[in-house]
């Protein structure tokens, strides 16, 4: 680097640049939060959805699945599973309920979580709510 470009100039670029772009980021964040109600499907958040999110979390579903593309890549995307299962909560519930305790020989299998009927209904409701978030047309197709 050139001699006449000094350390203090470099330092000022660091502090100035960081502060400027962080403030800019905060600005974009405020704007995002103000327009989120148009896309984030918040009007469909119910007590059941809240319980469903809790069931989702305390069973660490993200440890195998992706949700809107984020998570682990071991099991199918679930952001659109409600649509993939023919807009059927019952199909989701039946799938979770029927997982064999000892797994499937030689293959990946979802654990049996022994969820109550109330929890099953809630997780399905949560996945329905998630599938109705406007995620800019992602995933590209129904396979997730």
């Amino acid at each position: 680097m050139r001699e006449n470009f000094t350390k203090s100039m470099a330092r000022n670029i660091f502090y100035g640049g960081t502060v400027f772009f962080f403030l800019f980021f905060i600005g974009l964040t405020f704007d995002t939060i103000s327009v989120l109600p148009e896309t984030d499907n918040r009007h469909n958040i119910t007590g059941k959805v809240a319980l469903g999110k809790k069931v989702w979390e305390v069973n660490n579903c993200i440890g195998c699945h992706t949700l809107l593309g984020e998570g682990a890549y071991f099991a199918p995307e679930l952001g659109n599973v409600y649509k993939r299962f023919g807009h059927s909560k019952d199909a989701i519930i039946a799938f979770i309920k029927s997982r064999p305790v000892e797994g499937i020989k030689g293959r990946r299998s979802m654990p049996q979580f022994n969820l109550s009927d109330k929890e099953l209904d809630a997780i399905a409701e949560f996945l329905k709510y998630t599938s109705e978030i406007d995620a800019a047309n992602w995933p590209p197709n129904i396979q997730g």
């Binding site: 680097m1 640049g17 989120l36 979390e57 579903c61 440890g63 890549y73 299998s109």
Partner: protein
């Protein structure tokens, strides 16, 4: 060792290596579960093993960062650590909390762990990388604040170099952004939005400050190049890292229900994220060329030069590959992401921690400046085994990812996820072989600590 209190770094480094071994063992288990789906089922299902793998990675890197901080701060500030005793207490708190958390993951179902640790009081669990019980998260905050208090007080009474200021800002950032781990709204979009304030603003933000300062410290010590020059480079590199990386957070806001304009902001700024890594490569090679002495610790030099190269490849090139929104639309949440994650974490953070350990450990063990030639040869073998096998892990996952994206998302008759997984199994097998070679490299790395004696002092 110039300052007595630097010795507190030693247990941190040892714990880091110990947990690293655990991380890789679970990595090999996960790799096998990808192809032998019922391996260890239902005792250790994939989600549990993955949680152990990723959480151990984070914890051992934090141990490494903390060890680096405790080692560097006295030497940079030219004064003894404010409280070596506090550093040792925090070490045990962190180790015990970490161990209990991992034992919890492995011994009871996750839902039971959530119940036992009172997740209902403040639900923070069950989100990727933030799976720790809330009480563990509180512990992490306490340990981080204790560390910050300790090194900030040391810096206040001593010399304030750019390297140490950058390190301290990085660690403060680490602690502050971790606080977003406690924010977990029911609204999934908001949850995800601020989850990235921990995850992205850590690894593509403040952690890069810690990385830069460790690398600068090691390069000053090993090359003897003028501090003014190295610190100037450091400032320019971290300036570029944050200027690109902060708005670059937007590359995570493409498909999670956030406004479309993030596709522009995220693509534009993350496209320049490789630049600081490229500068880091130029910086490291330049400093080595301009070196004023030949340091006897060749192994540490190898790690220090390897870090920017692999970070540039993993974070820079593999990151850029799928960061533009039109590309990411198809690659989001596929094995491409996994490929990038593996090489980026290894290149940027694993290697820099191994670089400071390689540089500091001989000195902490009372040796003049380096281990014996014999020990260094073993360590350099471990460098090449781990680094080359990580390149192959990345290449195989990239192959898997490209096929996955094609079969599942682009082809005329898209197949379902599980069908595609079967079709790309060959790549997972090859990845597993590369993973085992990585483990062998790691075993060799550990062995290197026990072979040969001391190198003759030279300057």
């Amino acid at each position: 060792m110039q300052y007595k209190s630097q010795a507190v770094a030693k247990p941190y480094f040892i714990a880091a290596i110990g947990l690293f071994i655990g991380q890789i063992l679970f990595g090999v288990i996960l790799g096998l579960q990808y192809v032998v789906g019922d391996f260890l089922f239902p005792e250790i299902p994939f989600n549990v093993a993955r949680m152990v793998h990723t959480n151990l990675l984070i914890v051992w890197l934090l141990f490494g960062f903390m060890g680096a901080a405790y080692y560097m701060v006295p030497e940079e500030t030219e004064t003894e650590l404010y409280s070596p005793k506090l550093a040792i207490i925090l070490f045990w708190v962190f180790l015990v909390a970490g161990a209990l958390t991992i034992i919890g993951y492995l011994s009871v179902p996750y839902a039971t762990l959530a119940q036992m640790t009172g997740n209902d009081l403040l639900p923070t669990m069950g989100r990727e990388f933030l799976e720790q019980p809330t009480i563990t998260k509180v512990g992490i905050v306490i340990v981080a604040l204790g560390l910050l208090f300790n090194i900030s007080m040391t810096a206040l009474k001593g010399r304030k170099t750019a390297i140490i200021m950058v390190m301290i800002i990085g660690l403060w950032g680490l602690a502050i952004f971790f606080l977003f781990a406690f924010y977990n709204p029911v609204n999934l979009v908001l949850d995800k939005y601020f989850w990235w304030w921990v995850v992205h603003l850590w690894v593509e933000g403040v952690w890069e400050l810690i990385l830069g300062s460790i690398l600068a410290f090691v390069l000053i010590k090993m090359t003897g190049v003028d501090r003014e020059i190295i610190e100037k480079w450091l400032y320019v590199i971290i300036a570029m890292a944050l200027i690109s990386g902060i708005i670059g957070t937007g590359h995570h806001y493409f498909w999670i229900g956030t406004p479309d304009y993030w596709q522009w902001w995220g693509s534009l700024f993350s496209a320049i994220e490789p630049i600081p890594f490229f500068m880091m490569v130029i910086f490291a090679f330049n400093m080595v060329n301009k070196r004023k002495r030949d340091h006897p610790n060749k192994a540490a030099m190898l790690w220090a030069i390897g870090t920017p190269v692999m970070a540039f490849l993993g974070a820079g090139v593999w990151g850029f590959m799928h960061t533009l929104a039109p590309v990411n639309y198809f690659t989001h949440g596929s094995q491409i992401t996994a490929a990038h994650g593996h090489m980026a974490f290894y290149g940027a953070y694993v290697m820099v921690v191994l670089a400071i350990i390689s540089y500091a450990m001989p000195i902490l063990r009372g040796r003049a400046a380096a281990n014996s030639k014999k020990s260094q040869v073993v360590e350099m073998w471990s460098f090449w085994l781990m680094t080359v096998s990580m390149v192959f892990i990345t290449l195989f996952l990239t192959g898997a990812g490209i096929l996955q994206v094609w079969l599942q998302r682009i082809s005329e008759a898209p197949m379902s996820f599980m069908v595609v997984q079967d079709k790309i199994a060959i790549f997972y097998w090859m990845r597993e072989v590369a993973g085992i070679i990585f483990l062998l490299g790691l075993i060799l790395y550990v062995i290197s600590f026990f072979v040969g004696g001391e190198e003759e002092a030279s300057s």
